[in-house]
């Protein structure tokens, strides 16, 4: 163990810690989890006084080694997605690293394995979007036909959202377009006579898009003392809410005169 520990240079340690931090943050981990993980890794390798600063769009790690050299690394985060099994895997990896202090190559191999973790196939995700629409419309008081209509609207959301994310559009526009697609589908379905309650159909489908992660984690960030990160997430959830409202609003304004409803 001791030899392995020594063959990790300070820069390699910094790189590994930053990689793990990026993996945690870009898949939806909380700010305090990222900061805590990095500090634990540095402590496990016997480096004291490591400084970490994380907000949803940036990671800064810095420390000074025994000879008085300062090392630091900045990682700019672009897009965030929510992949909780990767957060779990990165969390496990961090624990393993703190326990066994593996070498650089081993950590990089484990990181690659985390990045290669399987995601559910696209058809399963699309069906899940439909099921979300179906369930929520039913819960909110729609009848069976409304629920079936909402599941079709949910199915319409998925390809639009997927394509928009593929094209690297910003979060605001992704949600605007997806919500527009859901509302258009609902209007068309009602025009063709499927489902009576237009509002319930659209709401059920829109539950696919609501800013769940941002809304639940902004308070957790604020409690943990990360006020800046909390405010950023709060504004993010507010913007996503506005985008959803705008998207379905455009659809209703444009198509109601044509399709009625």
């Amino acid at each position: 163990m001791a030899e392995e520990r020594s063959d990790m240079s300070r820069d390699q340690l910094l790189n590994s810690a930053a990689d793990i931090a990026v993996l945690l943050l870009e898949n939806g981990g909380e700010i305090y989890r990222v900061e805590d993980s990095v500090q634990r890794i540095f402590r496990a390798y016997g480096v004291a006084g490591c400084q970490v600063f994380v907000i949803p769009s940036l990671i800064i790690i810095s420390f000074t080694d025994g000879e008085g050299h300062s090392h630091s690394q900045i990682r700019r985060m672009s897009a965030q997605s929510t992949d909780l099994s990767r957060v779990g895997a990165a969390n496990d990896l961090c624990r393993r690293v703190c326990r066994d202090c593996p070498g650089y190559g081993q950590i990089q191999r484990d990181l690659e394995a985390c990045r290669r973790l399987p995601v559910w196939p696209l058809w399963a995700q699309a069906l899940a979007c439909g099921l979300v629409g179906f369930s929520f419309t039913f819960i909110f008081g729609g009848n069976w036909w409304d629920s079936v209509g909402a599941s079709l609207c949910g199915l319409a959301i998925f390809p639009v959202r997927h394509m928009m994310i593929r094209l690297r559009t910003n979060t605001f526009f992704v949600h605007l377009a997806a919500s527009f697609a859901a509302a258009v589908t609902a209007l068309l379905l009602r025009f063709w006579g499927l489902g009576q309650n237009l509002d319930l159909m659209i709401i059920g489908a829109l539950m696919n898009l609501v800013p769940g992660l941002a809304l639940t984690s902004f308070m957790r960030d604020i409690i943990a003392g990360d006020l800046l990160a909390g405010i950023i997430r709060f504004i993010e959830s507010f913007l996503i809410g506005a985008a959803i409202a705008l998207g379905s609003g455009f659809a209703l304004t444009l198509l109601r005169p044509v399709l009625g409803g």
């Binding site: 939806g28 981990g29 909380e30 989890r33 929510t82 992949d83 909780l84 099994s85 990767r86 957060v87 779990g88 969390n91 496990d92 995601v119 559910w120 399963a124 995700q125 069906l127 899940a128 979007c129 099921l131 979300v132 179906f134 369930s135 929520f136 039913f138 819960i139 909110f140 509002d199 659209i202 709401i203 829109l206 539950m207 696919n208 898009l209 609501v210 800013p211 769940g212 992660l213 809304l215 639940t216 984690s217 902004f218 308070m219 957790r220 604020i222 409690i223 959830s237 809410g241 959803i244 409202a245 705008l246 379905s248 609003g249 209703l252 304004t253």
Partner: protein
């Protein structure tokens, strides 16, 4: 029959919705069953809390009910709490409020637009306040356990 229609069926669908979200958030294995449980329990409490006035306080109570799952299940499953909290609380995110606010805005009903908008913010605030209470309590509980275990083991070692 009424019990089934009014309580059991909505909770079943809350569970299904939570399970569907697990596919979208890429949760696997036992999490597919355990994480949606929080949503189902939360929704049951939301329905049972109907006597409480207004759905802001109902959402708050339901959040508190769905929350206590989060300290225990992550230890059992060796998974971060993020997934449990996220899936458990999603049914209470005010998607309907966002929609109706927009609809009143389009229809030009400014009074209703403002009222519904503030109400939506209120529901989101209730959710955040619930998360605040549950997470603070979790942290307190963890710190207290750590503290007492250390003092106990310290005493055990010295005697």
């Amino acid at each position: 029959m009424d019990l089934f229609r009014l309580y059991l069926l909505p909770c079943l669908f809350a569970f299904l919705a939570g399970a569907a979200f697990c596919f979208i958030f890429n949760l696997r294995g036992r999490m597919l069953v355990l994480a949606p449980l929080g949503a189902a329990v939360g929704w049951l409490v939301y329905l049972l809390a109907a006597p409480l006035s207004g759905d802001i306080s109902r959402s708050f109570v339901a959040t508190l009910a769905a929350g206590p799952f989060s300290p225990w299940l992550p230890r059992v499953c060796k998974q971060p709490a993020t997934g449990f909290i996220l899936v458990g609380l999603l049914p209470f995110v005010p998607g309907g409020g966002i929609y109706y606010t927009m609809e009143h805005c389009i229809a030009g009903e400014i009074d209703l637009f403002i009222t519904t908008g503030i109400h939506t913010l209120g529901v989101a605030g209730a959710l955040a306040a619930g998360v605040l209470l549950v997470s603070s309590f979790m942290r307190l509980w963890g710190a207290a356990r750590h503290h007492f275990r250390r003092t106990l083991s310290h005493k055990g070692g010295s005697t």
